[in-house]
């Protein structure tokens, strides 16, 4: 049984029965297009009870971190100069479609890259906008009255990666740092990508006492396009005075992606100690 078959029934049951802005299910949640085929597809499914008007568009963006380690993805219409953008030569068919209740629609993605495109990986973001039927404003104004209400629209953004030639990836891990505050340990994991493709992996952090007892652990999916310095807040509760060790591993283990989508690379590790007084 594929993962798709396993999660879809549960996901459908989890989606509310009533919605004023029904999002569509977009699968897969990342698209990988090979230069040999120059084509890909996504499947949209409307689980709601009303038709949904869907618009598909391409943009550019990738995860970055700020000084506090928070990740954000800044979206733009086109790729900045120097970035390997695929936005300009990707097209979706159809770009606009109405999907009936509990119906599905395949969106084809076709690539028309330049003839002299060098080997490498090229990036884009695909936005699926879903708009339901006209939503009535709550409350009907009396004569001379004013009623106001805001309807909702939802958009889902997924990544698109176009790959040409043999690609490699990896990361280097600068010394990690850790600070204990409140009931968690904030762990910073400075990563810099190597190779020619995005590093898709999982960062794991654990906190152990001097006696080897695990006080807390957590993990986060990471996508390193150039560099990333994420913060993972490991919940540990109240720590007694003493020495503790934070261990970090970053590997290309990604259970949410199809095989070979996350290119393999050696696992990197680091650790750091801190003292609670």
């Amino acid at each position: 049984m594929t993962n798709f078959r396993r999660w879809l029934p549960a996901l459908l049951l989890a989606i509310p029965g009533t919605a004023v802005a029904q999002g569509v299910i977009v699968a897969p949640h990342a698209v990988f297009i090979d230069h040999a085929t120059r084509a890909g597809s996504i499947t949209l499914y409307n689980p709601g009870e009303e038709p949904v008007e869907v618009t598909v568009s391409f943009g550019f963006g990738f995860p970055t971190t700020d000084s506090s380690g928070s990740i954000s993805i800044e979206l733009s219409d086109t790729a900045p100069a120097g970035e390997p953008g695929a936005t300009a030569w990707l097209q979706a068919f159809p770009r606009r479609v109405t999907i009936g209740q509990q119906k599905r629609q395949t969106i084809r993605i076709l690539a028309s890259p330049p003839a002299n495109l060098p080997d490498g990986e090229y990036w884009a973001r695909l936005t699926v906008s879903a708009k339901g039927g006209k939503v009535p404003v709550a409350g009907v104004p009396d004569s001379g009255g004013i009623s106001v209400g805001l309807s909702l629209e939802v958009r889902t953004v997924i990544s698109v990666m176009y790959r040409k030639g043999a690609l490699t990836t990896g990361v280097t891990l600068a010394p990690v740092s850790a600070s204990y505050a409140g009931d968690s340990v904030a762990v910073r994991i400075p990563l810099a990508r190597t190779g020619t493709a995005v590093y898709l992996g999982t960062a794991r952090a654990s906190v152990t006492s001097e006696g080897g007892e695990i006080k807390g652990q957590d993990e986060r999916a990471v996508a390193v396009y150039h560099s990333l310095d994420p913060r993972i807040d490991v919940p540990v509760g109240a720590l007694a005075p003493g020495k503790y060790k934070v261990r970090v591993t970053v590997s290309t283990d990604r259970s949410d992606l199809p095989p070979k989508a996350a290119l393999t690379a050696p696992t990197v590790r680091d650790s750091v100690e801190f003292t609670v007084r």
Binding site: T2, N3, F4, R5, W7, L8, P9, L11, L12, I15, P16, A19, V20, A21, G23, I25, V26, A27, P28, H29, S41, T43, S70, I71, S72, I73, E74, L75, R125, S129, V137, A138, G139, P141, S143, G144, I146, S147, V148, G149, L150, S151, L152, E153, V154, R155, T156, V157, I158, S159, L200, E219, R220, A221, A223, S255, D256, L257, P258, A261
Partner: protein, 148 residues
Amino acid sequence: MAALLWHAPLSAQGRPLVPTGTQNLGFGNVIPGLSTQVLRSDPVGSGQFTLRGEKNAQVQLLFVLPASMSGPLGATIPLTFGASDGGFSAAEVITSQTVFDPRAPALGRLSNNGRASVFLGGTANPGPAQRSGSYTGTITLTVSYTGL
């Protein structure tokens, strides 16, 4: 359902991220010249979304918030959103929200069941001579996984 599953792409993995708007942000009937605020914790008036996706996944939330609502004959009502008008709840409980500023990108983490709710409040500011009628606008929520 059976047909859907039969034709599902075999290469698909992981849970897609699915946002759904479940309740409009509603101010009801307002009085000219009097600002009306709806709190994100208001179970009836707040805008509400649900998220479904990969368990424990971190997601980015990005709102597009209108500066005003449009009404009859081109009339508008200004809207304002404050730094504490956004709320995120992995437990999907309106009384247990983590506050965020909806005017800037925000992060949330889905529960270990891959679920969460997002709440939104705001303030409508009708003028003293506000034209009567219905006023509407659209709030857009864009979501994406941060790990891809």
